[in-house]
Every structure is written in structure tokens, then in C-alpha cells.
Symmetry: C2
Subunit: 467 residues, 2 copies
């Protein structure tokens, strides 16, 4: 008995995929992913049209999707993140229906609740057995956690596992188990390892980044949250990693043992685990080879599903217990609303991912961003797009000072007392504009190209076409 | 943030439990379980009545349920197995509605499909954190796998975790994750370790058992299935364990590396893993301390859910890939139908558990049973109750010979060629009756006291009251 089907063409026929249905993909293979393109090409060749594609993220490697959009193979897109390769064209208005942006927590909740049902889920699996037990931990295309793929596997009507490393039954160290899987397809390669994970993620060497990282670590040190049991999430950006490095030094100096590191996990978080800064890592996605090696071999480093990570519809998710998260921004306004969807010209080049989930769940949500990028100020009167509402943001750290959201008066007092350079966010804006000049006002058309759906299912904002 | 509630009384109020609803329990604490009784007592004290209790098994420790049945706190029972403490009284007709017996695979499938919805699931958890991440691997009441509890946790409207070992958040090595859990209650003890797992399970020293075990191992050796990749399930009975021991010797002698051992796992299966007879163990329930220690520390020994183990509603379960299973019987008839529900007097004292799931999935299903017990023959014209249909049984091994189901002519040829003592099942029946005398015919009343529901949802048999 085996679920192995000879080809993608055959499995698409077997899956019952028809015009107007929904297919889904996960993004753990990141910018090395071959699977989304090969599946969509096969679907297009089969003459199926008018599909909804629900992908947890689109990277630049997925830019060939443009052809399927133009040919109306794909007429609806749901995602949590979209790199500029696709985003720039979407922003030009090439689709009739706006892209729906969700969050990494909102997406699996909406799938689980049946709000965004999936007909056929395609699971890129770095290792699988002939019955569909699969894992991201092993194989030439190893990516570590498969956290974002669980909801797809659990709730799609049909589930196809695509692997380039078929192993004998059973794959005992499965992540997604065979009881969710209908078909298995073996291909030559599911991805390019160079694009799947970084060899190593690097901390910043930029002086501005190092100043921000130093401030960030001091904000955490003085927040009242840095004590035994402390929990922490940070991204893979250079300044965030530098902040983690400084934080590690503080925790080791003061003998603080945190409870867990969360999120997309980098080698720097693994270092913190191994140094005793945390008891565990809870991992929805691995960012580098060290994280992949750790989740494979260290039982303290555990894969979690996206619902467990950040689902807003479940009794609790890990973000709900999170102390501190460090996040980025392309813009932040004087009400602390954050934009991570569009660039300075208004083109789509990102998305929330877990941004607004971690912001909503954490006790302290910190944005690290330079005062300006390419002479464009970070702080504005109104962000071009509200990705995360200001109510969930506690503090903005820039090289020119630290702005605390007035809703968090206690934090401000603590940071002032610690001698940190606290500035009012309006002052920070003016200070920046004295350097950069006033920003030009972006012009948009009247065609909605994307909707930003908050984790509770309400519409947070609409993105219009760039003219 | 915490889900910890002060008492069972409080959590039952919070859960919204009302007259006529369904509560569920799992049985990993076996005859040491305190949780079912303490919860049912609290529910009774709260004045709630007319409940359906869906428990994966009832052991003799649960005999106090009789009082709740008599007081009409409990008016419907769904289970996969019922020991004689409850079974004897059920067989006397104390309930108005027949008990519904399912299988360990059918139960989670019917819960998942919404055929037997659960309002409040009570999860006895040997270790849990304040948000409900929980595990059976650690703590004073450690039981190992929580395989049968997953469907309850995943599909019940409200989920209560009850633990006697509350640990700091997060329990990284969780089995059931917090995103399924609504409340956590800490109690002094969830069970008596002596009743939860055996210190060691023992192979038989009975000469009859050893003869049967020797035959069983030879049947497997000559079945054509014993080769690299071989997979195997057996029970915890003395003769089954002896068969496993003999099988291990054959596999080591011949250098055969099996793929997996399955099921309720004993220390003997762990020995086989450690000796290299299998690459992995897939474990829905641990039977002894050695199995608990192994699932805690050996990554080749993996917990699986009951759906993954044996679910008939899912694309595949592990039993579907199983080569050989050894099972027991209280009766087997000349059509190879097996009874494991009632004793020789017609009283309920068991149930399918995973019997008919493993029988249906395996390539070779072997029953081991002595020709007679207490002068009552095993082989009958018609079993008192069909627990597993004869179509799924391949061979019966007794000390007086081996009967092969005529549907499996190839197996018979192989065993004859190997010189094993093959007998026609009718001859075996006559041979036995020459020793025991003809069995008396049981008399039943006309009140249905239980229904046996096959794994596909159809009714297999009805059990009537004993008069």
C-alpha cells in the first residue's frame, strides 16, 4: 500500500481540482521554493482556471505567478506576506479582486473555522514516507519546522505531499502525519537549499543598527519583564539579532533563565538556548542552518503549529504568554500604527506575517527602525497602510531616541528612570524631518489592490493601486 | 495569564456542562485512574443528570460509575472496552439504553466526524503547564503516550486538563498543545502509579502458553512476511509476549530488520527496538514502565494519536500498513468470527479496543488462544458476540494445532510446507469437545444491553442481558 503518485499532472487529476477551487501552499522553503511554481505550472497546463491561491507567503522566487494571474489561472490570492516581485505588479492593479492579507495566526484560524476553505493543499516536504508521514528536519532540502503547513494538512479536503527525499515507511519522526495525507509525489528537487535557509544569519555591523540594538536591549533590561521565566521573540534582521546578542550578555551577566524563545528561530536564539538563557525554543519556522540542526537534534527545541504559535481563534496561543517581541516597520505613525505591507512608494513589498499576532499577544512590543531610510522618514502622521494597530505597539526604538506609546505610562517612567533617551513620537518625527525634509505625499488610484485583514477577521485597511 | 481553575467543581460550572450533554475520558491511567471517578462524583454533586459518558475504556477502578448509572446521572455509555466490574452489571440490564461499543480507531473517527460529539473532555495529564500544554511522559503518574486523548482534545467543545504535576510554562515536550485546552485543574493525584503501568509485563511460564507462542513465532517465520521492513503488533498477554520473544530470536538469528512495532507498547517491544529488530516504535499506549521510559528518552519511539494508529475515516492509519498482529479471543467460531466482549457466561468483560482495527488493517491477523479455558472450549459454532468479523482473521493458534482461515489458502500452504500442525477449525472444535464435553448453550434475555459498532459505523452485533 502506498500513496505515491507518479507525477504532479496525475495527482492534480486525482485530487479533483476544478475551476474556481482553492489551492494552498506553505512558505518554509522561502526564496528557495520550487514547489509552488511547479504545481501552478502543472495546473495551468491542465487548463484549470479561476483558482484561489492561499499561500502563507510569497517570495521573489514566486514571481512567475504573474503569468498565471495574467492568464486568469489565478484570480484570487490570500497570503500573509508578499515580496516585491509579485507585490509591485499587484500594486499596479493587475488583479480584478484585491489580494487578502492575513496574519500567520489569522490564516490558520480562518482555515480551521471554514472561512477560507482549502480544496487541495500542496505540502512541500523535505522528507516523507510513501504514506505521507513527513518532516522538514531531514533531507537535502531540510527547512526545519513545518509549522505553517499544519492547518493546510489538517483542514484541506485533499492533501498532496511533494518530496525530494522519499524514505521507507514509517518516518517515525514525522511532523505532519499520514492520517491527513491523500497523495505523495516524488520530484527531483523541492527547492534550492541556498534559498531555503541562510547559512548563517548575521548581526548588523552598521553603527546605526548597533546603537538601536543597544537601546533595544536596555529597554528590555529596564522593562520590568527581564527576570526568570522571561520569554522573547525577535526577527532575523541584523539589528534585531544584535539586540538579541546584547540581551544574551545581560541575561548571562545577571543569571536570568528565561522560559522560551519563540518565532521564526535563528542560530542566535539557538545560542541563547544553549547558553542557558531559555529552557526551550518554540519554533514555527527556521531561518538558518543552525536552527535546522537544533530542531533536529535538541529536544528542548520544539516545532509548533501556526495555530499553537499565534492562532486568535484557539483557547490560547504561545504569543499570548509572550513577554517581549522585537519587530520591524517600514513606517510608524504618531498613533504608533505600523506599516509593514508597502514600501516608501506605496508598492506592496511585505505583509504582517506574525507581526500583528506577536504585537497583540506580547506584554511589550518593540519596533526597531532607523529614523529614516534613503532620506525617507520612518515616523509619519498617518501610515500608508495599517498592518498592526498602534494600540498593540509599546515602544519605538530609533538611533535618535526611544518613543513610548502614551498608553504605556509605566514603561515610560521606567525607561526615563534608567536614563534612556526618551522622546515624544511627534518630536522624533520633527527631528527626523529636519534632516530629511518633509516627505512627499504618495498618490494612489481608486482601485483596491489588497485588503489587510486583522487577526480577528475584521478589515484593518485597504491598499490602493499605485499610479 | 493562566487557565488554572481552583477546583473540579469550579471547572464544571465554567465548562457549561448541563443535563443531557456528553463528557469524555481517556484510559491511559488504566486501572490506576482516579480522574474519571473524581470528575463524575463532582458532576453528580452538581446535580447534573442524563449524561452520556464517552470513555475510551472502563477498568475495574471505574466500578463506582454504577452508582451514577443507578441515579441517572449517567444514562448513555460509549466505550471501546469495559472490564467486568461495570460489565457484569450492564449485562444484568441496569441501563435503559444499550452501551455502544466502538473500536480504538472507530471512536476517534466518530468524534472527528461529529457522529458522537463531545461537550466537555476531561484529559488526565501526568504533566501540564498553566496554559494546558500537557504530556504523559513525565510526573509521578507518568503513563507515556496520550494517544487516545487527542481526538477528545481536538474535537470537544470544551477541554479540561487535570494534572497532579503542574510545571512552569511552557512544557516544551507537550503531547497535547494549549491551543486545544480551555481549563487546567491541579489535583493531589490523578492516579495510583501501581495501577497505571505494570512494573514489568511478564512472558508466560505456562507450558501451554509457551507451546502456542512457539507456534505463533513459527507461523510468522513461515508467513512470507518476515523480511526486512517487517511490522508487528502484539498485546501484553503472557503468550503474546512469549511469541514476541521467540520472534525476536528468529529476527536476530536471521538478521532481519523490521520497520516498526505498533500498538500498546511493552518493554518487550522496547527490547526488540533496542536490539535492532525494528527501526521505530509507534505507540498509542504504554503498558509498562520500560515503555514509558523509552518513549520519554528514545526518539525512535514515537507517540501517535488514535486516529493515526487506527482511524478508519482518515486517508491512512498505521494499522493499514501492518504486516502481522497477534490478538486474543474469548471465543472464535468456525467462521473465524472472534468474541472479545463477553465471558463464558455471557457477561460483558472486555471489548474490541484495537482488536478489529488491527485485524482489518494487517496482512496477517493471528489469534492466540488455548483450546479451552476452565473446561470451556474456545472454538464454537457461533460466537456469543461478534467483536471482529471472521473475514479479517487469518489464523488461530492453539496448543492443539493451527487453524487457517480458508480465505487465506496461500498461508495454509506455507504452514503445511513448514511442517506446522495445521488443523481444520471444525476438527479443532471436535478435538476440544472430546476433552471438555459439549459446551452448554447460554441463555439470554430480550433486552439489548450493548451494541457492537464496527469501525465503519455499522452495527456488528447486539449483546443481550444475562438471565
Amino acid at each position: 500500500m502506498s500513496k505515491v503518485v507518479n507525477s504532479l499532472k496525475e495527482v492534480i487529476a486525482l485530487s479533483g481540482l476544478k475551476d474556481g477551487m482553492t489551492v494552498s501552499f506553505h512558505h518554509h522553503l522561502r526564496n528557495g521554493d520550487y514547489v509552488l511554481n511547479m504545481v501552478m505550472d502543472t495546473i495551468a497546463q491542465a487548463g484549470i482556471r479561476d483558482l484561489t491561491v492561499n499561500a502563507s507567503s510569497f517570495f521573489d522566487v514566486h514571481t512567475p505567478m504573474l503569468e498565471h494571474i495574467k492568464n486568469r489561472v489565478v484570480t484570487h490570492i490570500l497570503t500573509d506576506y508578499m515580496a516585491s516581485g509579485l507585490g509591485r505588479e499587484i500594486s499596479r492593479g493587475i488583479m480584478d479582486t484585491p489580494v487578502q492579507f492575513r496574519t500567520h495566526g489569522g490564516r490558520p484560524s480562518d482555515i480551521a473555522l471554514g472561512r477560507t476553505p482549502v480544496d487541495v493543499a500542496f505540502i512541500a516536504a523535505p522528507t516523507a514516507d510513501p504514506m505521507g508521514n513527513c518532516s522538514g528536519k531531514y533531507g537535502p532540502s531540510a527547512c526545519g519546522s513545518l509549522g505553517y503547513a499544519f492547518a493546510d494538512a489538517m483542514y484541506a479536503k485533499k492533501v498532496v505531499v511533494i518530496t525530494d527525499n522519499l524514505v521507507p515507511y514509517p518516518l517515525a519522526d514525522f511532523s505532519i502525519s499520514e492520517d491527513y495525507v491523500d497523495y505523495v509525489v516524488q520530484v527531483d528537487a523541492i527547492g534550492n537549499p541556498k534559498g531555503i535557509v541562510s547559512g548563517t544569519t548575521q548581526i548588523t555591523r552598521d553603527p546605526v543598527g548597533l546603537v538601536m540594538a543597544s537601546y533595544a536591549a536596555k529597554v528590555i533590561e529596564n522593562s520590568g519583564l527581564l527576570k526568570d521565566g522571561f520569554s522573547f521573540q525577535t526577527g532575523a534582521g541584523g539589528a534585531s539579532l544584535a539586540a538579541a546578542k546584547f540581551l544574551k550578555e545581560i541575561m548571562l551577566r545577571d543569571g536570568i533563565q528565561g522560559s522560551y524563545g519563540l518565532g521564526g528561530i535563528t542560530g542566535y536564539m539557538v545560542d541563547m538556548l544553549e547558553a542557558g538563557c531559555f529552557r526551550s525554543l518554540l519554533d514555527v519556522q527556521c531561518f538558518d542552518l543552525k536552527a535546522v540542526e537544533s530542531i533536529r537534534s535538541d529536544p528542548r527545541h520544539r516545532e509548533i503549529t501556526a495555530l499553537h504559535y499565534a492562532g486568535p481563534s484557539v483557547p490560547s496561543a504561545v504569543v499570548d504568554s509572550l513577554d517581549v517581541v522585537i519587530l520591524g516597520a517600514t513606517e510608524i505613525d504618531t498613533d504608533f500604527n505600523v506599516n509593514v505591507h508597502t514600501d516608501s512608494n506605496g508598492f506592496i513589498m511585505g505583509g504582517s506575517g506574525g507581526h500583528s499576532d506577536a504585537a497583540a499577544g506580547s506584554k511589550l512590543c518593540m519596533i526597531i527602525a532607523p529614523m529614516f531610510r534613503a532620506r525617507l522618514p520612518i515616523v509619519t502622521d498617518h501610515v500608508t497602510c495599517v498592518s498592526t494597530p498602534g494600540k498593540d505597539i509599546d515602544v519605538l526604538v530609533t538611533q535618535g531616541g526611544i518613543a513610548v506609546n502614551p498608553k504605556n505610562a509605566e514603561l515610560k517612567q521606567r525607561l526615563v528612570k534608567a536614563g534612556l533617551p526618551i522622546v515624544d513620537i511627534h518630536e522624533l518625527k520633527e527631528k527626523t524631518e529636519r534632516i530629511t525634509g518633509a516627505p512627499r505625499h504618495l498618490q494612489f488610484g481608486d482601485k483596491a489592490v489588497a485588503e489587510v485583514i486583522y487577526r480577528d477577521g475584521t478589515k484593518l485597511d485597504t491598499i490602493y493601486n499605485v499610479i
